[in-house]
């Protein structure tokens, strides 16, 4: 019968892993991701690809084991490695070259890389580079936090009027309410959607009308004490729970910030 199979898609590029190799960041992102998360599949694919890829994988295995030299290369060693990689039979010229270019080694290496290609990596710097990367990542995270908190502040300012009324301090706060239009006609009203970052009320309203196949509009609500107008989104029909869940799922509002107003009692969604 029909069986559903769980698929593995590459976390870096979103493709099935066997097609990763045509992606842009295959070596730098896809391979490490696959190795980390699905090592069995990684090996299977490496085998399929044949020796070159397998050896590439092996090389990666070896890397951490490789011993880190005590000191970085001297200029002479650097030059030796260069010639070892590209022109082994000219190795004897190294001392002569050094003498000739004494004091302007930079130029020498520039010329060499131009002629042959990139310099061989100094194993001494291998690990330290990694560490640097980590630092950078941490830094980025810190930066993200900083910007986030700044965003929080902005949010607070925008929704100040409402917040004060409710006596709540920070972050978004969205209240979903049912309102009777007639006896049988019910409207769903969302208040406080403007406290949410990065959404436009009009777009939100449009999304609701699409989802619930009904009319949805943005209206000015009762302004708060500070005179700042509060906007509300009015949807025709009774969608209290659906709306609340959609706010959480689609617009990324934390579910602790969404409240339901059930007959005057404001209760948190979850």
């Amino acid at each position: 019968m029909l069986e559903r199979q769980e698929m593995i898609y590459c976390g870096a590029c979103g493709m099935p892993p066997e097609y990763c190799e045509w992606g842009p960041d295959y070596e730098t992102h896809c391979l490490p991701w696959l190795k980390k998360h699905h090592s069995a599949l990684f090996e299977e694919l490496a085998e399929k690809r044949g020796t070159p890829a397998a050896s590439a994988g092996d090389a990666k295995d070896e890397k951490p084991v490789k011993q880190r030299p005590e000191a970085p290369w001297t200029t002479e060693q650097r030059l030796m490695e260069f010639y070892k990689q590209y022109e082994p039979n000219k190795l004897d010229n190294v001392p002569g070259l050094l003498e000739k270019y004494a004091g302007k080694e930079d130029k020498l290496f520039q010329a060499l890389t131009k002629k042959y290609g990139p310099e061989p990596d100094d194993p001494y710097y291998d690990d330290s580079e990694d560490e640097e990367e980590d630092d950078e990542e941490e830094l980025e995270e810190d930066m993200a936090n900083v910007t986030l908190s700044a965003a929080d502040k902005k949010k607070r300012r925008g929704a100040g009027a409402k917040k004060k009324k409710k006596g709540d301090g920070s972050g978004p706060r969205v209240v979903v309410q049912k309102r009777a239009q007639n006896k049988r006609r019910i409207l769903t009203v969302i208040m406080g959607m403007e406290t949410v970052e990065d959404v436009k009320l009009k777009d939100v309203s449009k999304a609701f009308s699409k989802r619930f196949a009904g009319s949805s509009s943005v209206k000015d609500g009762v302004p708060g004490p500070s005179g700042k107008s509060a906007k509300e989104i009015i949807i025709q029909g009774d969608h209290l729970y659906d709306v609340a869940e959609m706010i959480v799922d689609k617009f990324g509002v934390p579910d602790t910030a969404v409240f339901l107003d059930i007959d005057g009692d404001v209760v948190p969604l979850r």
């Binding site: 019968m1 029909l2 698929m7 979103g14 799922d249």
Partner: protein, 205 residues
């Protein structure tokens, strides 16, 4: 077709598919992919929960089914699409998730893979070179006693690649498989949906 596809802006109206239309859809799928039986298709698209049809642009229909998720509202997962009166084609994620579901399939050789991933059409040599594969021609005869090609012109096919397990694209034949073998030049399959395009990146609408 889906190269630039963004469900938030390109999808216009959604309608629930009527039961009769759904039945017609199913019979069309069964007709063009004879290895899929009605029972299997019923399991894939249960009669109870209706399909949702989304319009993409003026001539493209996207059929989705509801997916219940725990702890959040149900969403629509694209499973089939159809352009104008063309064949109904499956979304690649669906093909991947149900490997036992056998659509009409062809295989292209290794060299064609990168081009297909970029959204190019399949050229005939990609199907006829060693590594490429198409259903054999002339297995059956039609009423007049002529050979029926393995895949007819205008038929929707799922495209696999040499040495790979999973499908990488689906498209519409622009020639019959017999013609492809004979002429061996030009576009053989027009790609409608391939790995990495907008539809592939869309998990739900």
């Amino acid at each position: 077709m889906f190269k630039k596809f963004d469900p938030s802006s390109d999808v216009s109206t959604s309608t629930q598919v009527k039961a009769s239309v759904q039945r017609a859809l199913k019979s069309q799928i069964i007709e063009s992919h004879p290895e899929i039986t009605e029972d299997i298709l019923d399991e894939l698209i249960p009669k109870k929960s209706p399909l949702v049809q989304f319009k993409v642009g003026p001539h493209l229909m996207l059929y989705c089914r509801k997916v219940e998720k725990e702890g959040s509202s149900p969403s629509d997962e694209p499973i089939f699409f159809q352009q104008r009166d063309g064949p109904i084609l499956p979304a690649l994620k669906l093909v991947h998730h149900y490997p036992t579901l056998s659509f009409k399939r062809v295989t292209v050789d290794k060299g064609a893979i990168p081009y297909l991933l970029g959204g190019a059409n399949v050229m005939c040599p990609g199907l006829t070179n060693p590594g490429g594969e198409m259903p054999p021609d002339g297995k059956e005869q039609d009423a007049q006693g002529f050979d029926v090609p393995g895949v007819a012109k205008g038929q929707g096919v799922v495209i696999y690649a040499e040495g790979k397990v999973h499908a990488l694209a689906c498209g519409v034949m622009t020639m019959s498989s017999a013609d492809i073998r004979e002429k061996n030049k030009g576009i053989g399959i027009e790609i409608s949906h391939h790995l990495g395009d907008g539809l592939f990146q869309t998990n739900e609408i």
